[in-house]
Symmetry: C2
Subunit: 232 residues, 2 copies
């Protein structure tokens, strides 16, 4: 059985992908990689480490100090996050939400491929979805297909990028996570743009997550955990 590396952000989608990979490749063949790229909230990295621990797979945190040096976006810099992008104009560069870090997933996957290359891992798994509200162009299927080809040529290595959530709605992603037994770990994931636990439930990320769980008619284990312990 070939080996797989999951890009694990500590969020709902990458956690679902981790369990998808365990199901497909076998737990002993799966490892995870988390990027410390200057995200505003270190809780994301702690969540990834906790999720990997609960899934009993190894996790490596790899630093990237370049995005902060590039500057200019709300996910790494001290800029207010726009809660809405003008989705009618999503093809226009200036109308992308200011959480857009140009090429972020391209960089993540290229570093992941370099890491995989050195360890004879031939499968990368990432939790992007083109059904997402954001319109990020580096989350689309045609971008990832092109990147896979670029990585194969540029490393002379037979790497495959899997994005099992690509065409799933948030509700379907929740159903998949339930089916894969990811709910215990899901209680430790982090989604909120504000970086708080309990989550703020007001930011775009919290609203999207809540909508997915509601439509799937599943209680969000993170909310349950926060209720039970009063704080997390």
């Amino acid at each position: 059985m070939s080996k797989a590396l999951v890009v694990l952000s500590g969020g709902q989608d990458s956690t679902t992908c981790l369990y998808w990979a365990i199901n497909k490749f076998g737990r002993e063949n799966v490892s995870s990689l988390t990027f410390d790229y200057g995200q505003r909230h270190k809780i994301e990295i702690e969540s990834a480490e906790k999720v990997a621990e609960m899934a009993a797979v190894s996790n490596q945190v790899l630093p990237i100090n370049t995005f902060s040096a590039l500057g200019g976006n709300a996910l790494t810099a001290d800029i207010d996050i726009q809660q809405t992008a003008d989705s009618d104009a999503a093809n226009e560069k200036s109308y992308l939400p200011n959480t857009f870090v140009p090429g972020r997933n391209l960089i993540f996957l290229t570093f992941a491929a370099a890491y995989a290359y050195q360890r004879d891992i031939e499968n990368l798994v990432i939790g992007v979805a083109q059904t997402d509200y954001s319109g990020y162009p580096d989350c689309r299927e045609n971008t990832l297909n092109s990147l896979e080809q670029t990585l194969r040529l540029g490393m002379e290595y037979n790497i495959t990028i899997h994005s099992p959530l690509m065409n799933l709605s948030k509700a379907c992603t929740v159903e998949l996570a339930v089916k894969l037994g990811a709910m215990d770990a899901m209680a430790y994931t982090h989604t909120c743009y504000e970086g708080t636990q309990p989550p703020c439930m007001k930011c775009q990320a919290c609203i999207l997550r809540a909508k997915g769980f509601a439509e799937a008619n599943v209680a969000d284990p993170l909310i349950e955990r926060c209720r039970f312990f009063h704080n997390c």
Copy 2:
């Protein structure tokens, strides 16, 4: 006239590309970007800054701490550089020289594209050549064509990658540099794997450089400068 960003390593090839870009796009439209990626010798970065100064274009140094964290190659780690790779077996991953950093140029160009995106620069220029001895797969034309397509899709941005040295021999690159008036700056470039000035003249990089200048019947201004000043 559109703007151009040159990936400037401080070596002979990227310096030639800087002058190529000035010739093609006009000095006022050209800027340069140097990566501080944990290379063994900081003299490379100093050379890039000096070359940019001599060419009267701006230079930005951008840090990447990820390659050192990935480890395992001779250009960033404390590993002896192999002087020869088995070129008959260059398609086999294990026979690439241990100076191969998997995906290095893919990462450089993707970060350069992100930098360019934020500044409305639509042209990237890089000094890679598939005629090089090394057989690095991320220096080949088909890799860069594929990457250009990936960047266009992943950033929704009309970026073009120029690699003017792609199919030139080292001798032709020297002739081009002479024609473009790059020789004054060439005296401050750095090539030697050992990181010394005067260059060691024994490593593979020094030998390749000397061969190019000899075949073009041009004196290397770096050697002239070192002779004149006894040290650099």
